[in-house]
Amino acid sequence: MRVTKIKEIIRETERIRTFVFEEKVDALPGQFVMVWIPDVDEKPLSLSKHKGDLTITVLAQGPFTNKMAELKVGDKVGIRGPFGRGFKIIGDNLLLVGGGVGVPPLAALADKAVEEGKNVTAIVGAITASELLFVDRLENIGARVLTCTDDGTAGKKGFTTDLLRDLLQKETFDSCYTCGPEIMMVKVLEQTKAKGIPTQVSMERYVKCGIGICGHCIVDGTGQRVCKEGPVFRDIEVEKITEFGKYRRDASGTKVYFRNR
């Protein structure tokens, strides 16, 4: 556990903020850190940049993340990590499919891929225009960005999976990377599997220790630890994860089933 200060806070949307810390990292896109707000709690958050100042992008959606939204520049937080397995860049033509706060780790991946001279296409979805994340950032590094919103306020009206279907009818990719709501990722995998595109998925499960010892982030089928063998899994691994798209365990280890959206 090391303590660092907030250097900068960027208001991305109404409920999403990016925090830049006075600490450097050199990690893999897809890896996460445990962020501690003293006397509050500690939660897993993905790196939204893989290199340079430690940066995370957080959706305020509950006690901890709301508290984060109240933090100010100069406030101290604790950091453990980076932890977990990140994305592996395979091939030259990469497709990224992200929804909501699933986009930040994909943005980090895009940075790295472009650095390595890869072609990046990103499908970015959100509920409404004001919630779309990192479209400019992705375009600025030279990625092709396709957007969609549930309400049609920006990009195509509909889901990322609709955009994906259209795209895959015309083009193919060396590999695909997806992060977002699990139901979305299930559908992404269905499509990329049908087209034979190797796909990597970033999964969220209830993380407590973050270092592979407590077992709270386990996934059924393989018994793998999301904090250690994940959060990024390859499609062939995901196929063996029997709970994928079906349920996840809460803080007590009780199964909570996803509602299809």
């Binding site: 407590k208 220790c209 010892i213 386990i218 199964k255």
Partner: protein
Amino acid sequence: MVDISTKISGIKLKTPLMLASGILGTAGTSLKRIAVFGGASAIVTKSLGVEPRSGHKGPTIVKSIAGGLISAIGLANPGYEAFKEELDIAKEGGVPVIGSAYGFSFREYIEVAQALESYGASAVELNLSYPNVGKTGAFYGKHTELSYEVVKAVKESVNIPVFAKLTANVSDIVKVAKACEEAGVDAITAITSLEAMKIDVNTGRPVLGNKVGGLSGPCIKPIALRCVYAITKEVDVPVIGCGGITTGEDALEFIMAGAQACQIGTGILTRGITIFKKIAREMEEIMEKQGYRNLDEIRGIAH
């Protein structure tokens, strides 16, 4: 050829190296993986209670020196009822599954133990001391008489072997062990993690969400070893050594101190899930070199 198989309360173990409770033990698939891929000779479930518990706020864990941990998970568990299906999966691992039970009353201990028996657990291990869950939590294992009563109550309620897991945060662990023996316990597991804490000097705040937690890992090994040595000197029921076991040498120290078997938890942090296979090989190598053929030849020779 060195044979490191052993037996505890009639339960055969291919090696003395079991998984300790609370380590990767909240789901059946995880337990199965530790057995099949990791090589554990038996697996102990996370401690289960009557109701689901979410446990403490984070941080629930902080690394200490030398591969050690200070943790305060707070007995997060889905409750025993949800664990029926987990136990079924755990059993697919092909090794004995030991159910760990905790309770806030005798009745709760009995309820959980009986359920675990009905689910097919090979034994039940009573978690008598969980330093991180309020005053009630730490109660039983710190009191000789209460330890006696809990063990007795559970022994009268189930037919599978009953293990008692003790804390070293007592004045005289041997006294507690003797009380458990008198109450008819089948084996004693010693020890659980030791009350400890970490303060962050930048913020002046305790790091753990629960402020205090339990120290585990290599640092507590010399303490655990002395407990096993002291208990096995005075008590006849088998003792399972636990606390900081990370290498074959560590495990042999416990056997030489008199332990029947060992449990491993935090060692997974530094040596991975296959630590059970690694330690088995290391034990065999050392024993081979010293000309020992089986664990009975060395068990308790340090006395």
